[in-house]
Symmetry: C2
Subunit: 290 residues, 2 copies
């Protein structure tokens, strides 16, 4: 086949591939996203953590750890966390807070759940740790088809429940957020309850703890917390945030744009994308009412 015949064949193949968008950059995908491509997190499932002079917004994931999430919401509503502090800041691992005495029984194991009934948007690129990965309602999720099980992945910004040694499963009084490279070996070993949508640097730029595992020394002034359920804040005072939906064609275009970067900076597109490098974008919605 000579060069021109080859070119013709390629053009025909492209034409016959059906309606496809041209390769786009991340910026282009987001610029073309419609209002319906974004969702507003439920204020009943959103926490505000005031710490270190600013506000961290945490979206809970009741579909994965319903009893832990219910316990955390209840603790927030009775202001338990307001007497708590950041107690641990370990480089490239976790920032942890809370843990004060709490006379309630530990909760059941919610490390995994059935994959049945989950609207799972798979990522085609594979994963080192799990048979399948993808997103459920914007949360990075792993799935094992053989066991019909699913669990949230320990990506940067994901929040889990601290616990003691097994069989303790934690009670929600102590929480941690992943602050560095995804420690995926924690998957299925702890209850993961949500994702920080904004304010990560308020936690990750804190001074590192100098004790074992990054705990703060006894004589260090620990950052104080104040935690509220967003629904308990007047609507006009809530943090306006939207998260890109993961069940849309726009999401697929976003993943494709991350998989093969088209920005002029890139010489070689990787043509692969990894779960924890593809967390859904979060934005402050545009000011004009739609």
């Amino acid at each position: 086949m000579n060069h021109w015949k080859l070119t013709l064949a390629v053009l025909l193949a492209l034409a016959c591939a059906g309606p496809q968008r041209a390769p786009q950059t991340l910026e282009q995908v987001l610029a073309q996203a419609q209002p319906s491509d974004w969702r507003t997190p439920d204020p009943q499932q959103t926490l505000y953590l005031d710490v270190n002079g600013g506000r961290v917004v945490l979206e809970l994931a009741p579909a994965f750890a319903p009893q832990h999430v219910a316990a955390i919401r209840a603790l927030a509503q009775r202001h338990f966390y307001d007497s708590q502090h950041v107690v641990r800041v370990q480089e490239n691992y976790v920032v942890q807070w809370g843990g004060g005495e709490l006379q309630v029984p530990a909760l059941p194991d919610e490390y995994t759940r059935t994959s049945d009934g989950l609207a799972f948007a798979p990522l085609a690129d594979g994963d080192v740790y799990a048979p399948e990965v993808g997103f459920v309602d914007g949360m990075p999720t792993a799935r094992d088809p053989a066991r019909h099980s699913a669990w949230l992945a320990h990506c940067w910004s994901m929040v889990g429940v601290g616990r003691d040694m097994p069989p303790d499963n934690g009670n929600g009084a102590e929480l941690y957020v992943v602050s560095g490279h995804a420690p995926r070996h924690l998957d299925r070993n702890l209850a993961v309850v949500g994702r920080v949508l904004s304010g990560m640097p308020l936690l990750t730029a804190l001074p590192r703890g100098t004790e074992a595992m990054g705990f703060y020394a006894a004589d260090v002034a620990k950052p104080a917390m104040r935690v509220q359920l967003a629904a308990d804040v007047p609507p006009g005072e809530r943090v306006p945030l939207e998260v890109l939906r993961t069940d849309t064609a726009t999401w697929q275009a976003y993943v494709a744009a991350r998989r093969s970067r088209r920005e002029p900076f890139f010489v070689v597109p990787t043509d692969r994308v990894e779960l924890c490098n593809t967390l859904p974008p979060v934005r402050t919605p545009p000011p004009n009412p739609r």
Copy 2:
């Protein structure tokens, strides 16, 4: 086959597998490591970066980017970086320094190299981004057997050379370190020149920049740098550090212990390990001369 026959078969299989250590924890592997399992980085290929009140130790990787490494060593020896500052701190991405005017030509592309001649210790667990991954002299490395090419992976703590748009390849005046989840889409797009062995929090806990891409605003006081080649510091004043070798049976035991965590905290061993979650340990050598 009944249960007892199966058990016997398993026992025979284990007995016939030859000498194998019992499963160990990370702590056990490191406690049993011999002095010869550790290596001392070459002071000719080690930089000290004094910043933010402390010292960052950076081991260079001349096998991967020889011309960039040579340029960086020369810049350090003529005190170029001592007039430079940290200019960018972007959450979960990179911390970047330097970039002052430098009237030298850009260097050639050293984004990948031939895999020939590299002592590559493969990791058996696979990778999302590359056909093969493993370690070369302690540096996390990706390899493409089909193209006989190899490159350093953008893991947390790996250092690369900032550059402008292609075809610029950078000249070493501006460097960055990966501060969060591994941005592996940068692999093969930039020259990676080494790994920070200690002092990461001096860079990663800095206040985040508020401009686009985490650059510091013009009116912000930027942290000053002082950079020396370790070989230019009197031996008695050098930072004593050792890195676990990656070409030993102890290294294989260490990887196995990370792959399947045996510590009592873990309920489910993941039985997988990922490149950037397996960086070689660094220690201050024991005080007693051996």
